[in-house]
Symmetry: D2
């Protein structure tokens, strides 16, 4: 049987939409179900939206909530969609829980609805990593996976980079 | 350093385009470089096009050529884009070589250029699986990975299914 | 009140889709309602599908049917979506009826569903021409309008051209 | 010969892009040339960017500049891409000049780069209206054309509506 995967949605650029009346970006619903359909994905996936916020607006209680959901859910394979700005911080907090699960955080630099988003690709990455990597917490961005304590988002390029070369 | 990954392009639906003069689908160049750019992928990837054909038109010499390239290339992580109709057959042939490498075959049911393709997602899957799975040959489709001797393409739905439930 | 516009759908490249199981192009339903929604169009439009065929497969009875519908419908402003290969032929037949109506034929070189189609633009053209041009029959392609007796489709480029320079 | 058309770009939602580093919308270059290519447009068009601003940020001198360019340019057929919020105001100012030209203002509610924009359709409308309507100043939005003194943008729906029913 295909692995059971839990997805927690927290918001971030990934799920932002364009509000044409006010000319601003905002959150409505997650696009994950439509993404899985487009990807013709037959995995056993359960999606739950925990919050719909910018990761710069996340407070410690939000991260704590995400961690608790990772602990409590039945699945051992968890993907979290998350804003990129504080993704590393949340990943570190979850890692402290030393769960016997594989947890992969991913996000996007461009909203999924904008046509040229990296989100569809990143989610493809994250879903594969969560099935194939050993227990632990990871960040999946730019086609790669990183350990939370050896990665940072380069704020001028938007790329995720290892703190030290892992070779 | 990021893993070095070799990609062999063989054609398939993935890279088909629409010829507006004749109203037919055809092959021109691979779209992989533009896909990696869109995915903001920073992996160390080398792409080589081996052929640009429908997998129904593949003869044994074509598959043999693909296998030899898998054996000879320097990289231990190989992704092959391939038509879905005979993907399993090619995977089985490569598996016989018992290479000390991770080889992942992937493809698409809808051409990448058609806007609603599964290809971008599948390639995200394949690139993650090739980094995270142990040595062996795999097929990455529908968000999942399969062993060549335990998968078939369901011709009426287009989905890849395990021959027997692997649970 | 906004002008009442009748649209007759006859098929053509415009409405072709990709059949992923057989790897072929085919007709299902027209995409016009979704196009009007995307274009945020508030015109009073009634769509009727007369046939869903390649214009190369049209026989004289098909064209005759289209002409009769143009004559009989209540609206004086008619847009016909049509395959480009024999669009001129159908336009000439309708012109013979010397209707007291404005009739604009349009189509696409690339299917609407393929993401990079000219169809959305062409339909925008056609809907504006049908409101603003005097009574008569016209072809709207490549941003321009043509009289049926002074246009041909250039088969090697796919562009519509005047037979003689109308300057 | 095809009509010579002048296009003046002034910014507006139409040409906004997503700045992935700062998560904000901004202006870079106009997308008009790529739109004409996608629309396979063979009209004789000359594009000039006058400004790249939100129409809410337009001051009277900006509108005056647009009007002067309409007066001075050689072409008698002019399309202006403009933010929707003050499009009517600019159209009224140009109308005061009583030019012997056809001037059509258009815009978009969703940026062209966002994949689901009305901009491609609106531009198709505007280019057709500018060729087919008599001398005067018009607003082309929602598939329709309006006179500047008989239209308003409904701020809650984003649709353009006639002040009074013109039937």
């Amino acid at each position: 049987m295909a692995t059971s995967i839990r997805i927690f949605v927290t918001g971030g650029t990934f799920d932002k939409e364009y509000d044409m009346i006010h000319g601003k970006l905002y959150f409505k619903d997650t696009h994950l179900p439509e993404i899985f359909k487009l990807g013709r994905c037959t995995l056993d996936i359960t999606v739950r939206t925990l919050m719909m916020i910018d990761s710069l607006d996340m407070i410690e209680e939000d991260r704590e909530l995400i961690r608790r959901h990772c602990m409590r859910c039945d699945e051992n394979h968890i993907v979290i969609t998350h804003g990129t700005d504080t993704m590393v911080q949340t990943a570190k907090l979850i890692a402290q829980a030393k769960l016997d699960k594989t947890v992969v955080l991913t996000g996007a630099m461009i909203p999924y609805k904008f046509g040229s988003s990296d989100g569809f690709f990143n989610l493809g990455n994250a879903l594969a990593f969560v099935q194939a990597l050993p227990k632990g917490v990871y960040i999946a961005m730019n086609g790669r996976y990183f350990r939370p304590d050896n990665v940072r988002k380069n704020k001028s390029t938007g790329f995720f980079e290892p703190l030290e070369d892992e070779s």
